[in-house]
């Protein structure tokens, strides 16, 4: 499928923004400025971006613990995201959530999630709301290969079929659930599992932006037409360990070097764009520089931003609640 040149340039920019964001998060963590742990998305950019290209502002996504890429691809602003990861009052969630709970409902982003398998039921709910309210929205669940083995995923696949919900389940298979390989942990075939529910399902090469975008568009169109859910089993690559600080010794150095050299979706897109005459390398370099500058500003702003006021601790637990003062 032909992707219009402007869309492709925008997609490249978003993928670069995600990669740069993760590089900077990694550096901030190394510098001791990230209070909690983070799970980096570098290597998987084509999946988030390819899928979100098929979505509109009114559509919903739910994400995982590895959620920065999904958030950026769905339109969350990188400045407040970086501030959130640094625990600042100006963060997306005012410092309450951190890396694992970035959410922005105004952008259709229903939250990163600290629970593996937490997203699929929530997405069924968003799709049910869309169907009931007649908004025409589609709900996409990003989950990892680890989550496909959770009961919540199996239950949600079934529920989405039974209620014919406008859902797309995107299983991002980066080969690793935490420190355990999906080859060890997942029996059978993920596409076949979905088909077992009678669900439309296909396997997709997550290194190819256009393949992901094409498959996502077909699945989203199917859902929007009222024909029910689909599952996309997208193979991809995780460049870092499970979390920032994981020594990642369970993969050989040779395998990791080979992955970065030969299975980098961003490099691949650059080459394809140059070879196809869609963008010359200098134009892409200019985008890279622009993104770099944007991220530098975001990082500096986040570092300079105030920490939350301790009094905010008890805000936002409820909308209304009468209780004795604390402590």
């Amino acid at each position: 499928m032909q992707i219009p040149r402007d869309d492709l340039i925008r997609a490249y920019r978003t993928m670069r923004l995600i990669r740069t964001f993760e590089t900077r998060v990694h550096a901030e963590a190394q510098g001791g400025r990230v209070p909690g742990s983070t799970h980096l998305y570098a290597g998987q950019e084509a999946v988030a971006v390819g899928v979100c290209m098929a979505l509109g502002d009114g559509d919903w996504i739910a994400s995982t613990h590895r959620g920065h890429g999904h958030s950026i691809a769905k339109g969350c602003e990188v400045g407040p995201m970086m501030a959130e990861i640094l625990g600042r009052a100006t963060g997306t969630c005012h410092g309450k959530g951190g890396s694992m709970h970035i959410a922005d409902l105004t952008k259709g982003m229903l939250g990163a999630n600290g629970i593996v398998g937490g997203g699929p039921p929530i997405v069924c709910g968003a799709a049910l709301a869309a169907k009931t309210l007649g908004t025409g929205a589609v709900a996409v669940c990003f989950s990892g290969d680890g989550a496909v083995n959770q009961g919540t995923t199996a239950e949600s696949l079934n529920l989405a079929m039974v209620l014919a919900l406008p859902v797309v389940f995107v299983v991002e298979d980066n080969g690793w659930g935490e420190a355990t390989s999906s080859a060890y942990a997942t029996a059978g075939d993920i596409v076949a599992r979905a088909r077992g529910y009678g669900m439309r399902a296909e396997k997709v090469d997550g290194l190819s932006l256009s393949d992901v975008r094409e498959a996502a568009k077909a699945a989203v169109d199917h859902a929007r037409a009222g024909l029910g859910p689909s599952l996309l089993h997208v193979t991809t690559e995780r460049f870092h360990g499970h979390f920032n600080g994981d020594p990642d010794t369970y993969r050989s150095e040779a395998a990791k070097a080979d992955q970065r050299a030969n299975r980098d979706c961003l490099k691949r897109l650059r080459v394809l764009m140059a070879e196809g005459g869609l963008a010359d390398p200098s134009a892409l370099d200019a985008i890279d520089a622009e993104v770099e500058a944007e991220m530098e500003a975001a990082v500096l702003a986040a570092r300079a931003a105030p920490m939350p006021d301790a009094a905010a601790l008890t805000d936002d637990v409820y909308l209304t609640y009468e209780d004795a003062p604390w402590p």
Binding site: P35, G36, S37, G87, R88, A89, G91, C93, G95, K96, G97, G98, M100, H101, N113, G114, I115, V116, G117, G146, A147, N149, Q150, G151, T152, G177, E178, A179, T180, S181, S182, A183, Y184, A185, T186, P247, D248, T249, Y250, R251, S252, A255, M307, P308, D309, A310, A312, L313, T314, V317, D323, W326, P327
Partner: protein, 343 residues
């Protein structure tokens, strides 16, 4: 006797318990780590390194990495316990109980009672808990009041390396289902730990410190904070005893009541949410059974009724600290002075 970390003490307990009884198995996510990779084996030895080396000692038949499927493997531990094994099953964070509570609450905890005493379920569910690691709302909870509330479960919360080892060995030897909670901020704490295998009995509190002016009841990581508070208070001339119940189910009523009666002033420190929590439970015990000895209201030091926040400023404000504990003890002591005493 040697100085060991909390983590090493737990590791030694697992080694000794598995060596002593071939029916003991360990199961959970990444309890070895690296399954299916082309790098090193036993890469993690558990997310916090507690089970490192067990794979080499006991092999993959007894040290089992599972898929991320808490309902399945916690339930499998219950089933295996019912039918001849003594599984130790690990969920990385106690928060993940949300995924699999049915298998613990409605199955394992109730088999014996529902089956008229004709079943035993000797399983141990190990999990990390607690705030302080900037892990936010889904990886920081202290859910032991919920677990303590469930009849059929025993609930253990060690506060130091020696207790960690002895209580874990007891948990594995125990014929009832036991939830064993490890505070993630204690893993690097060190202390003297006996080399031999030994079991620390459940339902027996440890008196951490003697003192006649007040008693602080504290659990898990809060014990160390209570000790810091007690040192500050001692410099001011206030001697506070500290009682660490060590298990919330069963709970050592005797020791708590003894010190409540002796001092007449009770401060309970609890890292869990305040509503229906352990602090409330212990306060009600004292109010009901030691009312006549009390010289001041029983005071609770807990977090507010909120989820655990991420940002350090907020998380530090959330957790009870030594200053708040000391303030509560001073308030308790001042209460007597204000009333002129009635003991």
């Amino acid at each position: 006797m040697a100085v060991r970390s909390f983590r090493a003490a737990l590791n030694e307990a697992l080694h000794q318990a598995m060596a002593a009884d071939p029916r003991v198995i360990l199961m959970g996510e990444d309890v070895t780590g690296g399954k299916g990779g082309d790098g090193v084996e036993d890469a993690w030895g558990g997310a916090f390194g507690v089970s490192k080396g067990l794979l080499g000692a006991f092999g993959p038949g007894r040290v089992i990495d599972t898929p991320i499927t808490e309902s399945a493997f916690v339930g499998a531990a219950a089933g295996a316990a019912l039918t001849g094994l003594r599984p130790v099953v690990e969920i990385m964070f106690v928060d993940f109980l949300g995924v699999c509570l049915d298998q613990l609450m409605n199955q394992a905890a109730k088999f014996r009672y529902m089956f008229g005493g004709r079943a035993t379920t000797p399983m141990v569910l190990r999990a990390t808990f607690g705030a302080g690691a900037r892990s936010a709302s889904q990886h920081s909870q202290a859910l032991y009041p919920i677990l303590t509330h469930i009849p059929g479960l025993k609930v253990v919360i060690p506060s130091n390396p020696a207790d960690a080892k002895g209580l874990l060995i007891q948990a594995i030897r125990d014929d009832d289902p036991v939830v064993f909670l490890e505070h993630k901020m204690l893993y690097d704490e060190t202390g003297e730990v006996p080399d031999r295998p030994y079991a620390t009995p459940f339902g027996e509190a440890r008196v951490v410190r003697e003192g006649g002016d007040a008693v602080i009841v504290a659990l898990g990581r809060m014990v160390g904070r209570a000790e810091a508070a007690a040192r500050t208070l001692a410099a001011e001339g206030i001697q506070a005893a500290i009682v660490d119940p060590r298990t919330t189910s069963p709970l050592d009523h005797g020791t708590i009541l003894e010190y409540a009666e002796e001092t007449g002033r009770v401060v309970v420190v609890d890292e869990a949410s305040p509503r229906c929590g352990m602090a409330a439970d212990i306060a009600s015990l004292v109010a009901e059974r030691a009312f006549d000895a009390l010289k001041a209201p029983i005071l609770k030091v807990t977090p507010p009724h909120t989820p655990v926040p991420y940002s350090p400023v907020l998380e530090d404000a959330y957790l009870p600290d030594a200053a708040r504990i000391a303030r509560a003890v001073r308030r308790s002591v001042a209460h007597r002075a204000a009333r002129g005493g009635r003991a």
